[in-house]
Structures are given as C-alpha cells and as structure tokens.
C-alpha cells in the first residue's frame, strides 16, 4: 500500500490543514542513548478531512499528535498548519486528551467559559456561550456540577465543549473516548460526528480501536510497531455519511474494510507482542 506524500506547491509549501513532512522523533533515554520513537514519516490532513491513526500500543501515535499540537518539537522534519510552518503551540487546533484536562476546581460551565474569558470576553457573554455549548453536547442542566460529580462520558462532553467553543480549525484527539465503556464510546462517537458535520473541521483522531477508527473517519492510517515507527498503510473509508457510530458497524462495506485493514494491523500488533512490550 503506497503512502501518498503531501504535494508541495511552487513555494515548497504543502497544502491542507496539517502537513507533517519527514517527521522523526528521538527521545533521550539517559546518557547519550536515544530512543528512535518515530522514523521519518509523513502525514497530511486536508481541510475538512477526518483522519484516524491506528497502531499497536506504544507505536508513537500520540507522539505524532503532540507534534501536530506543537507540544513536542520533532527531531527532524517540517510541521505546517494551513501552509504555515508551526512555531510554538498550535493555537489553531483544539486538543482533546485521553486523560481529563478539565480543571477540577471549576464547575462544568466555568470550565467551558474560561476558554473565552482568557481571550478577554466579558463574563456574561462567555457564560452564555458556554451554556449554549453545554446544551449542544446535552449537558444544559449540569453547568454547576464539578468534574468529580460528572460521569466519564459527561466529562468528555464538557471537554468537547471546552475545545469547540473557540471554534478551532483543527481538532486533535488522543484516544479521547479510551477510558469510556463500549456503549458510551459509540454514543460519544455519534455526537462527535454530528458536531463535526456542522462545519467539518480537519480532524486527526488517534485510537487503538480499529472499529472506532473506521466508523468515524474518512481515512484510516496504520502506524507500524515502534521503535522507528512510521505510517505503513493508508485506507480511504468510503462509507456513506451521515453515519451513526454504532449502526455503521452493521454495514457490509464496514466488514470488508475492517478485514482488509485488520490484516495489516494484526501483523504490527503481533510484532509489538513478540517484542515483549505488551
């Protein structure tokens, strides 16, 4: 399976929302030793495209996402966001973490409103917008709850509202629904697709769950087992939209796609297993 390279324009810039070109990442592991987590690899996300990265545990999926978010500087390679080289944090992107990023000392409403308040929005305006977003994610009545008073799924909804309220052009998601149970994951997946359908942001979605990846995305890319992980597969997902994250799994095309992608993914998962890292 050939990996399509981002195409460069005359000025040498690559198009699309996110363009990672020849990215490699080394980590210092004490002394002069380095761990080559990611070998030079490239990944592009077009505007309005939903891309899922799937790979075995510890293959560097999250590392790649952190590079796109500007949280981590790659050892080599270029990061471009809407054609501009990325310096510092990627503030065009909203990032939804696997762990809870909510501030436990703020209520759900305040956690969402703070995103606007720190940009100088008046309190009343920020609060009204936050309430509107909480309503969108189905938590209108939970604004005064603190994070510990919400379930895992509810906290994820607040997290989504917190990220989406400032209308980022790009959405980066690191196994966002990982800690949730299977049913809640599917409900959250459908919610995500509904929200995404409104303005079709570019999405980079990291998951270890192949079914979730196929159900949600336009393209699934496979990362090889680390060290020196790289993108080794790229599968367009031609399932019809709008989708329901649960029902789409019954679609015959879903099975065909799953079978084809799993064949490649399985080999990588076994490699990781054999290396004793699982």
């Amino acid at each position: 399976m050939a990996v399509p390279m981002p195409t460069a324009d005359a000025a040498g810039r690559t198009g699309g929302a996110v363009a990672l070109t020849d990215i490699s990442i080394d980590f210092a592991i004490g002394g002069h030793a380095t761990y080559k987590a990611v070998a030079p690899t490239s990944l592009a996300v077009a505007e309005g495209e939903f891309v899922a990265i799937v790979g075995p545990t510890g293959c560097g999926k999250s590392t790649l996402l952190n590079v796109a978010a500007g949280l981590l500087k790659p050892t080599t390679g270029r990061v471009e966001i809407f054609g501009e080289p990325l310096t510092g944090l990627n503030l065009k992107a909203g990032y939804l973490f696997q762990q809870d990023g909510l501030m436990p000392w703020k209520s759900a409403l305040d956690n969402v409103a703070i995103t606007l308040e720190i940009r100088g929005a008046p309190r009343a305006e920020a609060e009204a917008a936050a309430l509107a977003w909480l309503t969108t994610v189905g938590l209108a009545k939970f604004g005064d709850r603190y994070p510990h008073q919400l379930s895992g799924g509810q906290r994820k909804r607040v997290g989504l509202a917190q990220v989406l309220i400032r209308e980022p052009k790009i959405l980066l998601m690191d196994e966002p629904f990982g800690p949730l149970d299977a049913q809640t994951r599917q409900i959250m997946g459908t919610l995500l697709l509904d929200l995404w359908a409104v303005d079709r942001k570019a999405v980079l979605f990291v998951t270890h769950d192949l079914e979730e990846a196929i159900a949600l995305s336009d393209r699934v890319v496979i990362m090889s087992a680390g060290p020196e992980a790289s993108i080794i597969g790229d599968y367009p997902i031609d399932l019809p939209r709008p989708r329901d994250a649960a029902d789409i799994r019954l679609h015959p095309r879903f099975h065909a796609l799953h079978k084809a992608i799993w064949a490649q993914l399985k080999a990588e998962v076994i490699k990781t297993y054999d290396s004793g890292r699982v």
Partner: protein, 264 residues
C-alpha cells in the same frame, strides 16, 4: 441528626463518662490501702471541674485565651503567607529550589523548641516571640504543600490549559494557584494545630499570659488541679478551632470529591 449519629454521640459521651469515673474512683477510693491515682499527682475530676468553672466565672481565663488565639492566628497568617510565596517561587524556579534544598532541609530538621530561647532573646517575652515560633512550624508545612501542589499539577490539565490559550499569568491564576491552594487547605488542620503548638510552647517557656503560661504557673507550685484545668481548656480550644477549620474547608473546597462526600 440521624439515628446512627445519635448513637455515635451517645457512645462518645459514654467513653468520656467512663474515663472520668475511672479517674474519680482511682483518686478517691483506696484499693488495698493505696490510691491508684493519688490526688497529689492526678488531682480529682471534681476539683478540676470546679477550677475550670472558677476560671470562667471570675473571667481570668478570657485574657489568656485571647492572647493564645491572637498568637495562633498571627503565626498561621504569617507562616502561611510566607510558605505560599516561597513555595511558588521555588516551584517555578527549579535551580533556586535545588540551591536552597539542603538549607531548607536543615532548618526543617531542627527541633523548633531550641529556637524558643533565641526568639525570646530577639523579640522579648511578649507575643511576638511566640508568633515567631509558630511561624517556623507553619511556614514549612505550607511551603512543602504549595511546592508539591505547584509541581504536581496534572500534566494533562496543564497541557490542556496551555492549548486553550492561557498565558503564564492566566496559568498561575486558573491552574497553579487553585491547585496549590487545595494542598494548603488539605494541610489546614495540621498547620493551624502547629500554630497553636508554637504559641503554647512559647508561652510555656517564658511569658506573662496565655494558656501555656497558665499551665506553667500551676506546674511551678505543684498545683496539679491547675495543670489539668489548663489542659482541658486547651483541648476544648483545639476542638473548637478544628471545627471552625472544617467549616472553612468545606466551604472552600466544594469541588473536591472527599470534602463533599459524606457531608449532610
């Protein structure tokens, strides 16, 4: 109050009654010709009770209570303010923390009682030598907690806050400060308790007023009843202060799971 709450209270009172009864019998009823708790060393519950009532009725106790309370409050306020300031400063400047680390450990390892004479020499026999002793105790508790609180902000919360666009000042206000404060509050019982220990120990070692002074005076003339009366008043004082701290804590830390769970 619920049924189980009533039962608990009844049992708690029962323990107190039993202890006092044991004390009374030990000091009043000879067993085999000897007293289990001779009156000279243990006084009697009745005498102690009468002395406590007398102290309150004549009003002599209020001055001492007020002095001890003032010293405790000042020691806590100054110690906490210093601990918060230095804790933040060190947590944000790792090099500074590393340089001062052995000295901080050294001073903290020092038993504070040995500082009392020095403080008395420097600050006299008034309240400030006692406040200083309390400050040295409170400062380190608050300092270590703030330092820990700032250092141990969850990386996910921090990264998330940065990515929603917070600058350093906003991170301080919305992330570091509440996190550190929650650690300070979780150690509030300990630090208020230590502020009181500083005040009372200081008074005990040399002063003209306060609960520590009261106990020390009684001890000086082998007035066991006075010592026990002072101890009981001190214990009650601590209980009331602890209750007040719990009230403040529950008000300020509503967002914390453990402070709301189990509350009526």
């Amino acid at each position: 109050m619920t049924r189980s709450g009533m039962k608990l209270l009844a049992l708690q009172i029962l323990v107190g009654v039993c202890a006092i009864a044991f004390w009374h019998i030990g000091s009043q009823v000879p067993i085999g010709g000897t007293y289990l708790l001779p009156e000279f060393f243990f006084s009697t519950p009745l005498d102690v009770g009468q002395r406590i009532i007398k102290l309150f009725v004549t009003g002599t106790i209020w001055k001492h209570l007020w002095i001890t309370l003032t010293e405790t409050a000042l020691a806590f306020a100054i110690g906490a303010a210093g601990g918060i300031a230095v804790g933040f400063w060190f947590a944000r400047k790792p090099l500074l923390a590393a340089i001062f680390d052995p000295y901080v450990k050294m001073i903290n390892a020092l038993p504070r009682v040995v500082l009392a004479p020095i403080f008395m020499l420097w600050l006299g026999l008034g309240i400030w030598s006692k406040v200083a002793l309390g400050v040295t105790l409170v400062f380190f508790i608050v300092f270590f907690n703030v330092y820990q609180g700032v250092k141990e902000v969850s990386p996910a919360i921090l990264a998330n806050a940065r990515l929603i666009g917070m600058n350093e000042r906003q991170l301080f206000r919305h992330v570091y400060w509440p996190s550190a404060l929650s650690w300070v509050f979780s150690s509030l019982h300990t630090s208020v308790g230590f502020a009181l220990v500083g005040a009372v120990v200081g008074e005990y070692l040399g002063s003209a007023a306060g609960l520590g002074y009261l106990i020390h005076q009684a001890e000086g003339v082998f007035d066991t009843t006075g010592v026990f009366a002072g101890m009981f008043i001190l214990s009650a004082f601590v209980l009331i202060m602890d209750w007040a701290v719990t009230r403040i804590e529950n008000r300020l830390l509503v967002w914390r799971p453990q402070s709301t769970a189990g509350q009526p």
